[in-house]
Amino acid sequence: MTWGARQSGGHFAQVIEMESNKNCVGWRLANLAILGFLAVACIDTLTGLEHWPFGSYPMYSLLYSEQRSWLRLYGLTDRGEVLLRGERDFAPFDEARLVMALERLQSADGGKQKLDEALRNLMRLYDRRQARGLPLRALRLYAVRWVLRPGLESFQPPQERILVAQATRDDAEAGR
């Protein structure tokens, strides 16, 4: 029988039946694996839980207002304050992960101490890449806010900026 002829529907059912009978344990394990993967994927989807590498994939699923609040890190240098970005200045963090981590620390128990420790560590991470940037005298974390409207450019400064935490060079060296 040719491969093309084998693909007729009735033959498939017969072939599956024969194959599965030959290899009963393998057949059951394959079914178990399929059911297991599907069960975790469905549970996470329906409940919003995360069992990585499965997940509920909630990125951008919230309602966003016409204002955007965010945390931003600024470095205090001899030339004044400069905006610092996750990927460029605090590798291995990227911007989204860093800001989310800082937000979680801010809202955790003992958030002030945790944020101070986090900023000291970030200053040390920055120093490891200092050859490309200006030396920092301090690292400042601000809560910033923009009012979003079409036509704004990405470099425009936030409309509101509130200092949340700060670590100085002395703090970072003391915590080294």
Binding site: A13, I16, A33, A41
Partner: protein, 317 residues
């Protein structure tokens, strides 16, 4: 009826090459995509950032040994390559899955889960559980008579089907999450525009397309509705072949726009799209003399790598 549909969906016989090509393409692509990966930096991050997920909760804190992480990631990349070419196949696949879980999961323990790397890990686990090394391997070329073939079998279908299903469920979950968390209000021009404009400040998109398109209320509205519809269509696309093509094209275009407008790159998902391409057809057009092989006669979890000589097993019964 349901049992029959279940069997037909997951276990319609396929050739060993069908699954092996997924291994070659999948592991090859993942090797290229993750070649620049370097997790050693996480050893410098303070334990205050340690927020473990999943199985990482068994660790008391972040890893501190950069050299060890360096060795593990070199091993992982080698295992991805040897999995692709089929060298020490079973060991390579198991190593690729285990180290992939650890190295791709580790960054997610520092504050935020990025949903880019989950699917590649699932694919590696599925391949490690499957008989993907029954064909097109260096092992086979070194050990066995090239004329010996294996027959089409159900064992070569379900791993590919499961990987395809989980890939499409990723998008269905994303669409469902939007309706669960945002409701129908998520599909409004205001919401879509806020996402596009907000990302200009919080991310570094490669283009100003987000700001440009946000000027049009009609385009923002269309994009919001289209996003949810395309994502939700991933579930029926599992069963309707024609819809599947449309959905996959729609999802791919959507992810290209996300990259251009939001600066979020779903590069690892390329391996998911690749699962749906007819690699076997390409393979046979390149090597027209190759033909469907015969199935192995030993169970799929067996460590045996030798093959029964060519025969018609069904006629023997």
């Amino acid at each position: 009826m349901i049992v029959e549909s279940w069997r037909r969906y997951w276990f319609t016989p396929a050739t060993a090459e069908h699954l092996a090509l997924v291994r070659v393409i999948g592991c090859g692509l993942l090797f290229l995509i993750y070649l620049p990966l370097d997790d050693r930096g996480w050893t410098q991050v303070s334990p205050v950032f340690w927020m473990p997920i999943s199985a990482f909760r068994i660790f008391a804190g972040p890893p501190g040994n950069a050299a060890l992480i360096g060795v593990l990631q070199v091993l992982w990349k080698i295992s991805l390559f040897t999995s692709a070419i089929g060298l020490v196949s079973r060991c390579s696949m198991a190593t690729a899955a285990a180290l992939g879980f650890f190295l791709l999961g580790l960054p997610n323990c520092f504050g935020k889960i990025h949903h880019l790397d989950g699917f590649p890990v699932l694919l590696l686990i599925i391949l490690a559980l499957s008989r993907c090394s029954d064909a097109l391997t260096v092992d086979g070329a070194l050990r066995r008579n090239p004329e010996v073939r294996t027959e089409a079998s159900w064992q070569y279908r379900w791993p590919v089907r499961l990987a395809q299903t989980l890939f499409l469920l990723v998008f269905f979950a994303a669409g469902y999450a939007k309706l669960r968390n945002g409701g129908l209000a998520w599909m409004t021009a205001v919401n879509m525009r806020s996402i596009w404009l907000g990302e200009l400040y919080t991310h570094t998109p490669p283009t100003a397309l987000g700001g440009l398109l946000a000027k049009s209320t009609w385009l923002s509205q269309f994009a919001a509705v289209a996003t949810v519809i395309v994502e939700l269509s991933a579930l029926p696309a599992l069963f309707v072949r024609r819809l599947r093509v449309l959905t996959l094209v729609g999802l791919f275009v959507m992810q290209v726009f996300i990259a251009l407008m939001l600066g979020v790159y779903f590069t690892p998902h390329l391996v998911g799209y690749a699962l749906f391409l007819p690699w076997e057809r390409y393979y046979r057009s390149l090597w027209p003399l190759s033909r469907p092989p015969l199935a192995p006669s030993f169970p799929w979890w067996s460590l045996r790598t030798t093959r029964r000589p060519i025969s018609n097993r069904f006629s023997q019964r």
